[in-house]
Amino acid sequence: MRYYLRKLAFYLVALWAAVTLNFLIPRMLPGNPVDILMAKLQQRGGSPDPATRRAYELLLGTDTHESLVHQYLGYLGNMATGEFGISVSDFPTPVSTVIATSLPWTMALVGLATLISVLVGTVLGVVAGWRRGGWLDSLVPATTVLAAVPYFWLALLLVAVFGAALGWFPLLGGYDVTLNPGWDGPFLRSALYYGVLPATTIVISSAGGWLLGTRNMMVSVAAEDYVLTARAKGLRNSRIMIFYAARNAVLPTVAGFAISLGFVVAGSIVTEQVFAYPGIGSKLLQAVQSNDYALMQGIFLIITVTVLGANLLVDLLYGLVDPRIRTSG
């Protein structure tokens, strides 16, 4: 129980740190983003009403003599209610709406791709680590090369080969734009179809990391005493591999999830750019290119919260999976 509470506390601290970082960055760097945003709003025909200006000020900093603490508290309040202001690049949509429409796409793509990647990498890693010296061991350097290939380059290659040259998959987008987004068959099919290439990019690039980690752990675990006992007990090889070796080897992999997720999130941003996938990554880039600071801040916060949430989930899962944690707390 104590384990769960400690983990929860840690993630709350991390969340606070991220939120505060988000608060401090625009104030530490030069420039006056609020004025720029207000000017852009005007350009777009928006009337800069005081509420909008206030939202921007809390988000990005103001040069009035308002105390930092006061701004911070107001900022926290706005964050809690999801009030990020109005997006300048997607005027006049509020930032929270922009995020709400694009986040599910990224979560679906990255979530699904990571799941597949973890499963593929772990299974292959278990087998490669157990059967030393087999052909699977030669997989390891191969996946290392793949992991060293930049995500976007791999994405471009896949598009060139499977999209342009062979024409098997669409070149870009999240779904057929002529369809109406909704929970119906044609749309879901279209979404799945358009998601194949981006997901493949993520899987190919990240499976190697899981494979390597699992394989190394399997090698360590294979030398443990309980594996020796299992062999002495005359158990079948597959049973030993799965219940004695793999079951213990994947634990640290689960623990190392945080680092891997960071790479996957980074890779997905670039992948979305290449595929023009309507997820939150391409919105972030769109925000950066249009100096839409409000949208940028909002997205950064949401990405952070999502990643923290995923990590918390995995840590809780770890607690379930490793009985030593469960009982000792």
Partner: protein
């Protein structure tokens, strides 16, 4: 597996520092070769290629003799651009690698060495930075920095600040484990200054880990910078592989099939990453020697024709004849030399000797649990079944061997701390023996039998649902014994079963064991270094030294009339509780085997 290392320790090792260098394996050669080539290309390449920026009217052209990698849309030579771009990328990669490693050393090593509140704070900081997603943070920071200020150093600083956390965590874990090592504590007690302790005792042992983290940091930096440049957020006016790819996309290289513009930068990034990763593998093998690629030894597992030895007398249950086991390391270690033993039904045969004499190797070899580089070079192991059959254990095929194991011959290992699977319940670990060897049983029957087995050794059957870490040491050992007796084997091998337990618990377990032996009539091979214990419990005792059996006689004979001088030494070395202190036993070099191979 500690016995293995003590066995190996008998062979003199090379000097410590040389052990720190990576072994020359194919991975290291290839990896180092790639990196050397790339570095040469980055350093010397720009001097030999032409001007990367000169434009020509020819526009986009395919590779030719004039331009080995073709030209870009404005007629610029791709090969020339590639040289400068590689230099740019490597420069930033190394810059970030150094900065990030310095940060992680600060927050990881120094923090955890100092300990206390500083350690807690640094660790929290590392974890927080670890979970905050890196690239979005970099993007946001880069976006706020005005374009004019976006130089190479700024970008490098941003990348370093967002990338140090993972390494810090790893370094901290290593430092924590080193900090409590004996030699560090010793030098602290001796009054050495903290910085000296860190520099002399801790850092050298951290070097391999530090090296891998440094290499990781470089790989990550190159990839991140490439991504940033591709998105247009990289350092202004820099030429890196990422900017090259960005221009290639801008110039529709993909659509026009201009692979020569577009493929080489990505290939170089991949090669550099791959080379660095291979080097990391080699360094990993220093940290964890088990990861080394094991050369296949075809001889070890060859099927051989069965050559069972007939039993010397009706009561024999196991005959070991002339068994020799060698560790095929660079300097072969003859762990077991020409051992002959006979175990009789219902007998407790003790096997005694000092650490490193080969007794555990012998025990493993009997059951064929030995792993490369250990190899049985001569001899036979024959099991004499109650029904009259003689089985050559060394000739069994894998399926037969599995059936043989545990049902005929069970083992209880030293230090049940690690011998039980930490993630399975006691019930599961007992039950899977039955699932494998007695597949016909129903689940209820299996559980009943498990409960019975626990009761047999004096453990409450309610403990079936417990996990190993919830049991005390003594209880775990009893569980191991229960597990060993589940199938009522004919032979039980005990390898130092009570060494790690306190005296009273020891007594209890031994008493239990004797009781069970009386009831179930199995033979016991009892391996230990504790000769006095053995003399109490065992019927016969065999003394082992440097791989050979020097004496083999009933226990009372050993006490009364030890024949071999080593036996006498051994007997005399144990201090009695009330009497003299005893001799200090440790012979400086192995006594040469008497001619004729007498035991």
């Amino acid at each position: 597996m500690t016995n293995l290392s003590t066995e190996l320790a008998a062979a003199p090792l090379r000097a410590d520092w040389r052990n720190m260098l990576p072994r020359r394996s194919p991975k290291l050669v290839v990896g180092a070769g790639i990196i050397a080539t790339m570095t040469l290309w980055a350093v010397a390449g720009p001097a030999v290629v032409g001007d990367p920026e000169a434009i020509r009217d020819i526009g986009l052209t395919a590779p030719s003799t004039a331009h080995l990698l073709g030209t870009t849309q404005t007629g610029q030579d791709v090969l020339a651009q590639l040289a400068y771009a590689t230099r740019g990328s490597l420069y930033i990669g190394i810059l970030v690698g150094v900065m990030a490693t310095l940060l992680s050393v600060l927050f990881g090593i120094v923090g955890s060495y100092v300990g206390g509140l500083v350690d807690e704070a640094f660790s929290l900081l590392s974890n927080v930075f670890l979970v905050i997603p890196g690239l979005p943070l970099v993007i946001v920071i880069s976006a706020f920095v005005p374009v004019q200020a976006r130089g190479s150093w700024t970008i490098a600083a941003v990348l370093a600040v967002t990338g140090w956390a993972g390494s810090a965590r790893v370094l901290r874990a290593q430092t924590l484990s080193l900090r409590s090592r004996d030699y560090v504590l010793a030098s602290r007690v001796a009054g050495e200054r903290p910085w000296r302790v860190v520099a002399v005792e801790i850092l050298p042992n951290l070097l391999p880990v530090l090296a891998t983290q440094f290499v990781f940091a470089i790989i990550a930096a190159i990839l991140s910078e490439a991504g940033l440049s591709f998105l247009g957020l990289g350092a202004a006016n820099s030429a890196t592989l990422g900017t090259m790819l960005s221009y290639a996309q801008n110039g529709f290289a993909l659509q026009r099939g201009a692979w020569w513009w577009f493929v080489p930068p990505g290939v170089i990034i991949a090669l550099v990453g791959c080379g660095l990763a291979l080097i990391n593998f080699s360094i990993d093998e220093i940290i964890n020697p088990r990861l080394r690629d094991i050369p296949r030894r075809r001889t070890a597992d060859q099927p051989r024709p069965a050559r069972p030895v007939t039993r010397t007398d009706d009561d024999a249950v196991l005959t070991v004849q002339g068994l020799s086991v060698t560790y095929r390391t660079t300097q072969p270690v003859h762990a077991v030399r020409d051992v002959t033993l006979t175990l009789h039904r219902g007998e407790i045969l003790g096997l005694a000797g000092e650490s490193g004499c080969g007794k555990t190797t012998l025990a493993y070899a009997i059951n064929r649990l030995h792993r490369p580089p250990a190899e049985i070079t001569a001899g036979t192991v024959t099991f004499h079944d109650r029904g009259g059959e003689d089985v050559d254990v060394l000739a069994l095929d894998p399926r037969e061997l599995r059936a043989f194991r545990w049902s005929q011959l069970a083992m209880v290992f030293q230090g049940a701390m690690n011998a039980l699977n930490p993630v399975l319940t006691v019930r599961a670990q007992l039950a899977d023996v039955l699932t494998t060897h007695r597949p016909g049983l129903s689940r209820r029957e299996r559980h009943r039998r498990c409960g019975e087995a626990l009761s047999l050794v004096g453990v409450d059957p309610r403990r079936l649902n417990a996990y190993p870490h919830e049991l005390s040491g003594g209880m775990r050992q009893r569980v191991m014994i229960a597990m060993a007796l589940l199938l009522e084997p004919q032979i039980v091998i005990l390898d130092e079963p009570t060494t790690a337990l306190d005296v009273l618990v020891q007594r209890g377990i031994l008493r239990e064991l004797l009781r069970l032996r009386d009831r179930l009539r199995f033979a016991v091979l009892f391996i230990t270094h504790d000769l006095p214990l053995l003399l109490e419990v065992a019927d016969r005792v065999a003394i082992m030294r440097d791989g050979s059996i020097v004496e083999d006689a009933p226990s009372d004979q050993i006490i009364a009339r030890p024949r071999h001088p080593y036996t006498r030494q051994l007997l005399g070395s144990f201090p009695s509780l009330t009497g003299e202190r005893g001799d200090f036993l440790r012979s400086p070099e192995p006594e040469p085997a008497p001619p004729g191979g007498a035991r």
